[in-house]
Symmetry: C2
Subunit: 375 residues, 2 copies
């Protein structure tokens, strides 16, 4: 089995660019991972997702275990073959969704029992079952099973939760075993507390992982608080391994996270926005349903090379959104994912060139202009 | 402006194959036209529709006049540019949808007044306004404004309606005027009555059109009755001009119509079926929601070269349909349109080779086998 690994190519301040190597292909970092919740990035064919520049997708353990079921996916040849994506896949542990989506949860030292939000059936997730499900799915980057408390939370709750997650991290490591070609990432917890984050990082480093996530953020704390944590959390994690900020975010969140030393991110935002009529451009968000676009022959962004911008006017995008046509979500999702990957590509080039500060200034200056003037 | 025209390349019995020439490209006949109701073939990008082999799309005057509006489409450069399809477009006259979709219709010699099914706004369609709307849209093949009565209907009603449609055909011809590069098709009416169909055909031939539709079928009369009309109706129309059967149909309807001398057809069925989980294959329809597919690693049709069959198992298609994912409608619509175009391509080749009877026998023999056995 081929080796996995992480090579840093350049640093610019605390920002880094590099490559994660897996048997299924390289992941250029900083990387944005589109979310393929239930074995599809909503509204996109996988070859289109790849065409935007994505090197890796994220799959959700919680969704896939409930439908179609991990054993079924395994019988069908694994998640890559099932969803027709042969490049790397990272799966989350199910810990986050079980807290946000399922009914009748019961949390114990052993794990979490819950009822499916789809059919009410009863299930159990623990470090051991999560590792087994992610193995059945065949994911390339496996995440430890953790508990992710909503913020704000009091310090005692955060401390207990973090320590439980660290015990679960050890059990995840033990259950994962030795799987050449696959990587296991630990997840740092500790809320907004620097000392708890340090304790969590030390616990994870003592166990030893192939990469480290900053978990427990993007759960309602706001950008300022998140950046506050990112001012210290990445530095608590190993320099020579990838750092993954889970569930982030808006374009300005992403730029700020990369600036602070994050290598990987994922978020449903570009695809969810695409289905609800919101486009992300270099000048900020555009609400395509607004009447100002009804007669506008210009593309969303005249410099964008995505299919939505090359082939269609704002007037068309407005029309198909208002008419509830599928092509609305298809084109806007493609545009948004393309924009996100262009943003990542631009940051990688700037870090390699040592011009990240200029990139960041230009990014904010362009957004400060706002959308193009109405005609 | 380039010339338009119709060239017959081969006949096999009453079946014909040929080419309709337009300034926007050639249309190989027999042709199936996917329906792009509101300036989109639902669930497909136009380049994907083209990749299935479609030479021409159909657009709906009724839908487009109400939203986004014909004047707006004209301001934006016409329907081709608006929807990013640079090949031929045929637009219907609005006559059929105004009868089936709108509220508070009032039919007079002048035309039809009605209220929009979208917002209740009041509108008028007449031969003159329909020609003007289709001109604003920029369609390559314009249809006469007609009245299409539901079947069964008594003879007196059919006779009155047909004669009204023939008066409207003359007004459509007069209003259309001289538009080089664009074609105007007349529409034969007369229900299931051979003498009324003959009277209608004679009236249309006296006016003179660039093509002739067999209208007023596929409105509930059943396949046997429809084929009964198609046994005589195409022969009543000019041999050297294209014959278009409106709103047809299922694959076996299409084969039977081509056998009887039809050159063009359109139907929402392949795209609508695609969105509701029904696939059309050489072995007949497949309901992808059925539990028998949940663990089936085989494609819908192992000999099909469409993206759905090359990349995905029945199990995957079952999963994404059950999960309500957009990719379900996207893949099944692509498959269905691909299958329909393969069917047309096969019939064109068989007619050219003088083997249509063998093609038809093989078509029915394959369908008689039914879907592949469950695993």
């Amino acid at each position: 089995m081929s080796k996995t690994g992480f090579t840093l190519h350049a640093r610019d301040g605390t920002a880094r660019c590099g490559v994660i190597t897996t048997p299924r292909g390289e992941i250029r970092t900083p990387a944005f991972m589109p979310v393929g919740t239930a074995a599809t990035v909503k509204g996109m064919l996988p070859e289109s997702v790849r065409a935007t520049g994505a090197d890796i997708l994220l799959g959700n353990t919680y969704h896939l275990m409930l439908r179609p079921g991990a054993e079924r996916v395994a019988r069908l040849g694994g998640l890559h073959r099932f969803m027709n994506w042969d490049r790397p896949i990272l799966t989350d542990s199910g810990g986050f969704q079980v807290m946000s989506l399922s009914d009748l949860r019961k949390l114990t030292e052993e794990g979490v029992t819950f009822r499916s939000h789809i059919d009410g059936s009863k299930h159990m997730l623990s470090p051991e079952t999560s590792m087994e499900i992610q193995r059945l799915l065949g994911s390339d980057i496996v995440m430890c099973f953790d508990e992710c408390p909503a913020l704000p939370a009091d310090r005692a709750r955060l401390e207990d939760s973090m320590r439980l997650s660290m015990r679960w991290a050890q059990r995840s490591r033990d259950a994962f075993g030795d799987r050449p070609g696959h990587m296991l990432f630990g997840i740092q917890q500790g809320g907004l507390e620097e000392d708890l984050r340090a304790e969590s990082a030390a616990a994870l480093r003592a166990i030893g992982f192939d990469g480290y996530a900053v978990g427990g953020l993007a759960v309602g704390e706001g950008q300022e608080a998140m950046f506050g944590v990112l001012d210290f959390a990445p530095g608590q994690l190993p320099e020579d391994q990838p750092r993954y900020l889970m569930g982030v975010g808006k374009p300005d969140d992403i730029v700020g996270a990369v600036k602070r030393g994050i290598d990987m991110m994922d978020c449903v935002l570009p695809s969810r926005s695409g289905r609800t009529g919101q486009a992300w451009t270099r000048r900020g968000p555009v609400a395509i349903k607004n009447a100002r676009h009804a007669d506008d022959p210009r593309p969303l962004d005249e410099d964008c090379t995505c299919p939505a911008c090359r082939g269609y006017s704002r007037a068309y995008l407005h029309h198909v959104f208002r008419a509830g046509e599928m092509i609305s979500g298809m084109l806007l999702t493609w545009h948004n994912l393309h924009y996100y990957q262009e943003l990542m590509s631009g940051m990688r080039a700037a870090i390699a060139a040592g011009t990240f500060a200029e990139f960041e200034a230009a990014f904010h200056a362009m957004r400060a202009q706002g959308d193009i003037e109405p005609l």
